[in-house]
C-alpha cells in the first residue's frame, strides 16, 4: 500500500469517527445497519392472544443540574421498551438541588384511562416522572423531551396522560418499523403508550 493510500484510509477512518461522534449529545450507533428480529414484547398485562413473557423493566436515572439547567441524558428501561431523552437544559435549575431523579415505571395502560375512540393500546403504559433529588419537588420541564416506545405489532401515535387525567392526549410520532419503535416529542411528562 502506498503512503498516499494509507493516508487516505486513515483519513476516511477519522471522517467516520467524526460523523459518529458528531451527533452531539444523542447516543449514536456504530452503524445503522440491517434488521434484527425483535424479541417478544414484554407486557404488564398481555392482551388477548399475546403470549405471556417476562415482566417489563422499569428504570431510574439521574440528570445533573447546573446553573443553566440539566445536562443532556437519556434514561432507558433495561428491556429498551421505553426511554426518555432530555436535551441540554431541559429541566429548569432549582435552588438547593443539584440533580434530578428520573423514573420510568411500566403500567397497564388500560388502568390509566380508556383508549381514545378508534384507538387501542399496542404497548404498556410507561409512567415517566422527574423530581428534584433533594427537595423532591416535581421537576420543571422547559424544553420538550423525546419519548421512545417500543410497540408490540403496530403503532403510529403516542398517547399521553398526565397526573390524575382520565383521558389521553394524542402525540404524533416518528415510526421506526425495523426496531418497532415510535418516538414523539413531549413538552411534559406523564404516562405514555403507543397506539395504532
Amino acid at each position: 500500500m502506498s503512503p498516499r493510500g494509507l493516508t487516505a484510509g486513515v483519513a476516511l477512518a477519522v471522517l467516520y469517527l467524526v460523523a459518529t461522534l458528531g451527533l452531539g449529545a444523542h447516543p449514536a450507533r456504530l452503524l445503522y445497519d440491517g434488521t434484527v428480529p425483535m424479541p417478544p414484547y414484554q407486557w404488564v398485562h398481555p392482551p388477548n392472544g399475546a403470549a405471556g413473557t417476562a415482566p417489563p423493566s422499569s428504570a431510574a436515572g439521574t440528570l445533573t443540574l447546573g446553573a443553566g439547567g440539566s445536562a443532556a441524558n437519556e434514561v432507558s428501561t433495561d428491556d429498551l421498551q421505553a426511554s426518555v431523552t432530555f436535551p441540554e437544559s431541559a429541566v429548569a435549575p432549582h435552588a438547593g438541588d443539584s440533580s434530578v431523579k428520573v423514573t420510568i415505571t411500566p403500567v397497564d395502560a388500560a388502568t390509566v384511562a380508556r383508549a381514545p375512540a378508534g384507538h387501542r393500546f399496542d404497548s404498556n403504559g410507561y409512567r415517566i416522572e422527574a423530581v428534584y433529588a433533594t427537595s423532591g419537588a416535581p421537576a420543571t420541564l422547559v424544553k420538550p423531551v423525546d419519548i421512545a416506545l417500543t410497540y408490540a405489532v403496530h403503532a403510529n401515535i403516542v398517547l399521553r396522560a398526565q397526573g390524575q387525567d382520565k383521558s389521553w392526549t394524542i402525540l404524533t410520532g416518528t415510526v421506526f418499523p425495523a426496531s418497532q419503535q415510535i418516538v414523539a416529542h413531549s413538552d411534559r411528562l406523564g404516562t405514555f403508550a403507543a397506539s395504532p
Binding site: 477512518a13 469517527l17 460523523a19 447516543p27 452503524l31 445503522y32
Partner: protein, 175 residues
C-alpha cells in the same frame, strides 16, 4: 459488454433493501437476493491485482480499528436491542450480503466511470437504503462508513476486507 441491466438491477436491489423496513420478518429474503447478485453477478474487471496477505490484513485492521474506537467513545443506542442467536446470524449474513452487493457488484460497475463515482455512489446507496429503517440520523454515519468500506475495496481490489470489517462492526455493536 451490455450494461442496460445494471441500473435496473441496482435500483431493484436498493429498493429491496430499503423495503426491509416494511416487513422485518421478510428482510432476510431481501438480503439473500442482493447477496446472490453481489456474489454471482457479473462485474467488469472483477479481480484486482494479487495482493500480499499483509496488505489485506492491514486494510482490514484500519477499518476495524475505526469501529473499535467508535465503540469505546460512543454509548450504546437504545435501538440496539438484545437479539436472539438467530437474529445475530441474520445480521451477520446481511452484512456480507450488503458488502457483496455494494462493494463488489455496485462499486465494480460504477468504477467503470472512475474511482470517485464508485466510492461516492456505492456509499450513498448504502446510506440511502437504511434511511427508511433508521431515519436521517443514520445518513452521516452510514455514508462515512460506506466511504471507509469503499476505500478498503479500492485498496485491496476485493470486497472481502470490507465484508470482514462490516461483520466486525456489527459484532462490536452488540458487545
Amino acid at each position: 459488454m451490455r450494461v442496460w441491466h445494471v441500473p435496473i438491477v441496482g435500483t431493484l436491489g436498493c429498493l429491496a433493501l430499503a423495503a426491509r423496513a416494511a416487513d422485518v420478518r421478510a428482510a432476510p429474503l431481501a438480503d439473500l437476493a442482493v447477496g446472490i447478485v453481489g456474489i454471482a453477478g457479473t462485474v467488469p474487471r472483477d479481480r484486482g491485482p494479487s495482493l500480499p496477505h499483509g496488505r489485506w490484513a492491514a486494510v482490514t485492521a484500519i477499518g476495524i480499528a475505526a469501529f473499535a474506537a467508535a465503540r469505546l467513545l460512543v454509548p450504546a443506542h437504545p435501538a440496539g436491542v438484545s437479539p436472539s442467536t438467530v437474529g445475530i446470524l441474520v445480521l451477520l449474513i446481511a452484512s456480507v450480503a450488503e458488502e457483496a452487493f455494494f462493494r463488489r457488484w455496485m462499486y465494480g460497475w460504477l468504477a467503470v466511470a472512475g474511482v470517485g463515482p464508485a466510492l461516492i455512489g456505492s456509499s450513498a446507496a448504502f446510506a440511502a437504503v437504511h434511511l427508511p429503517i433508521y431515519g436521517l440520523r443514520a445518513l452521516p454515519v452510514d455514508f462515512a462508513a460506506g466511504l471507509l468500506f469503499g476505500w478498503q475495496r479500492l485498496a485491496t481490489g476485493a470486497w472481502t476486507a470490507s465484508a470482514a470489517t462490516h461483520v466486525a462492526a456489527n459484532l462490536l455493536q452488540l458487545a
